[in-house]
């Protein structure tokens, strides 16, 4: 084992998969001149401008051409940078990558093995168009796998699974998680999709948290442990496929659920997971499912306003306590 950052872990996955399979290539804005310690750092120098393509500033072109290349037998990776910018390419991601195999009846085994990398997250003074985490938005669309890694180990193993998957995968890394350090094996390994990880075991309340929210939830659980509240924190790791069984088993035990997702709550990850759990665990529930997330507002710039809108450990703590004392 070695200790590396999450960004480095993703970078290693990309490098190793490109070494392993000549059909893998990556394209995005500015790739010829990225910082060495970025997600795609060093790849251009190693693989050259054919396989690490510096694309025009043009998200529909970057995403749409991945669809064409995948149809022609390649395994493209699109580095779309901020998720805010990827919205420019929604037709290509949602209607082409997500729906073409189905719409064409899987003609002749049609496959679309594409990875769309996006960076998400607020807490950086980015304001409304540089701070979005629209993970739940894509959960709404059929045909797209969704990965939200939180540790370097997961990030590397999930990226390798994403590249080897025969379907389109959205790979979301959070701005504040890039520098997170963790242990990663020297040898090749994969982390499978659809398997949640219990980050902290507990008996009173189940918290499901995504991406950077996992660390906020763990902080909240730690603080509440001092008040003798035992919180279980589950990191789904992939939202499509979703490991609902692990969540359901936990909720059957605790009878209480809080879902934490950074994005706007309406029709979001919390609404979906909360509802699915309600459908399966209604009789086990001791209190209503609660959500912690953005109260359906654009993310404002000023630190004071941003803090008011985005989730925090204290907001999560408050929600956990409310499930214990429902009014």
């Amino acid at each position: 084992m070695k200790k590396i950052t999450l960004t480095r872990a993703v970078n290693e996955a990309l490098r190793e998969e490109m070494q392993r399979d000549p059909n893998v290539y990556i394209q995005g804005i500015g790739l010829r001149a990225v910082a060495p310690n970025s997600l795609t750092g060093g790849l251009h120098d190693e693989f050259g401008s054919q396989r690490v393509r510096t694309a025009p500033m043009d998200e529909p072109l970057i995403a749409g051409s991945c669809v064409g290349a995948a149809l022609a037998g390649m395994r493209p990776v699109a580095e779309l940078h901020l998720a805010d910018f990827a919205f420019c390419a929604l037709d290509e991601i949602i209607s082409k990558a997500g729906k073409w195999r189905y719409m064409h009846g899987a003609n002749n085994g049609m496959m679309l093995p594409i990875v769309f990398m996006q960076t998400i997250g607020g807490y950086v003074g980015g304001a409304a168009e540089h701070s979005q985490s629209p993970v739940g938005f894509y959960m709404h669309a059929p045909g797209l796998k969704i990965v939200v890694p939180t540790t370097p180990y997961d990030a590397k193993g999930l990226m390798k699974s994403a590249i080897r998957d025969d379907n389109p995968v959205l790979f979301f890394t959070h701005k504040l998680l890039g520098g997170t350090e963790g242990e990663v094996p020297e040898d090749d390994y994969l982390v499978p999709f659809g398997k949640a990880e219990v980050r902290r075991a507990g008996n009173d309340v189940t918290v499901v948290a995504t991406s950077y929210m996992v660390s906020l939830a763990l902080n909240a659980a730690q603080s509440l442990a001092e008040e003798d509240v035992s919180v279980e924190v589950i990191d789904p790791r992939t939202l499509e496929p979703l490991d609902l069984d692990t969540i359901v088993q936990s909720v059957r035990r605790t009878g209480r659920l809080v879902v934490v997702d950074e994005d706007t709550m309406r029709c979001g990850v919390g609404a979906e997971i909360g509802f699915q759990v309600m459908e399966r665990c209604f009789s086990d529930m001791k209190s209503p499912v609660l959500r912690v997330g953005n109260p359906d507002l654009p993310v404002p710039y000023s630190p004071v306003l941003e803090k008011a809108v985005l989730p925090s450990s204290s907001k999560i703590q408050a929600a956990i306590l409310r499930t214990l004392n429902p009014s």
Partner: protein, 316 residues
């Protein structure tokens, strides 16, 4: 670039088959057997003179109009029609309707939103370039689509990366009911080529032998790695935007274009060259009719999918 006798006759037969398919589909739409709308390709078959030059390992992207692109590549009318009927034997097992994919014949899928094909063509050509092959991509789009940002994106990137693409704008003068002059500033779509520093040429799309020659040169250029070309084919759809839609165009304009039919034109030329006889013409027509009749039988006799098939095919 001149086609051989065999190639000219092959092209003629293909165009006749495509026309017969369109006439048969129109009849089936009117009978209520096709639950989607259909944009007839009648009048625009001149484009086939470009597509017929593709090798089986080349790629193509295509517009919402007509079946001539599928027929050019070798797709079977029976499975095309079965798809339009929503039957399980269709190319997309009844999930796509007029969104046809037939990967075996290089028909890679159809976008609902027009103009989204252009970046896809760039991706196909990128794959060719990375692998170092000599295949090419022909990407068709209409005059209306020349306004989409994706069209300009793709022209720019194809020029920048010297990709093996032949862009063909089939300018039929209208986007829906609106004449091109109402939404574009350029006189010919090929004028866009100048902005991206690639060759651009505008020709009569209803003159198949000219289309053959010009497209052939562009294909050769792309195969050699010299980059993309933009060709505008001036053409006309003789029917309304979709079968059954109201046609607001001047009837005299429609009549004038009917006189310039690409199939009749090629037929006259081949008669003059003694490559066709009245007898041969009749037998080609007859063969096409028999093929379409059997396609109708196949589609009618094919089963619908099972409701539970709706749950299949999302993921590989």
């Amino acid at each position: 670039m001149k086609p051989s006798t065999e190639q000219m006759l092959g092209l003629y037969k293909m165009m006749v088959r495509s026309r017969a398919f369109e006439e048969m589909v129109a009849e089936q739409v009117q009978k209520g057997h096709v639950p989607c709308s259909w944009m007839s390709g009648i009048g625009q078959e001149g484009t086939m003179a470009a597509l017929c030059q593709l090798r089986s390992d080349d790629h193509m992207t295509y517009t919402h109009r007509g079946a001539y692109s599928f027929i050019s590549r070798g797709s079977e009318p029976s499975r095309l029609l079965a798809e339009l009927f929503g039957k399980s034997t269709g190319y997309c097992k009844g999930k796509g309707g007029r969104h046809i994919a037939d990967l075996e014949h290089g028909v890679m899928g159809k976008s609902g939103a027009i103009g989204s094909h252009a970046p896809i063509a760039v991706g196909m050509a990128t794959a060719i370039q990375i692998r170092g092959g000599d295949q090419v991509v022909i990407s068709l789009f209409g005059d209306g689509t020349s306004n989409r940002g994706t069209t300009h994106s793709a022209l720019n990137t194809s020029a920048l990366w010297k990709l093996p693409i032949v862009w063909i704008c089939e300018n039929n003068g209208y986007a829906g009911a609106i004449p091109s002059a109402d939404f574009t500033t350029f006189k010919a779509a090929s004028d866009m080529a100048a902005a991206y520093g690639i060759p651009g040429i505008s020709i009569d799309g209803n003159d198949p032998l000219t289309v053959y020659a010009v497209a052939g040169e562009a294909i050769t250029r792309a195969r050699k790695g010299a980059g993309p070309t933009l060709i505008e084919l001036k053409t006309y759809r003789v029917g309304a935007f979709a079968i059954g839609a109201k046609d607001l165009r001047d009837p005299e304009e429609i009549m004038a274009w009917k006189q310039r039919d690409p199939i009749e034109r090629l037929r006259r030329q081949l008669l003059e060259m003694d490559l066709l006889s009245e007898q041969l013409i009749a037998s080609i027509d007859q063969e096409a009719r028999i093929e379409m009749d059997s396609a109708v039988r196949f589609a009618e006799e094919s089963p619908f999918p099972n409701p539970e098939d709706a749950y299949q095919d999302l993921y590989a």
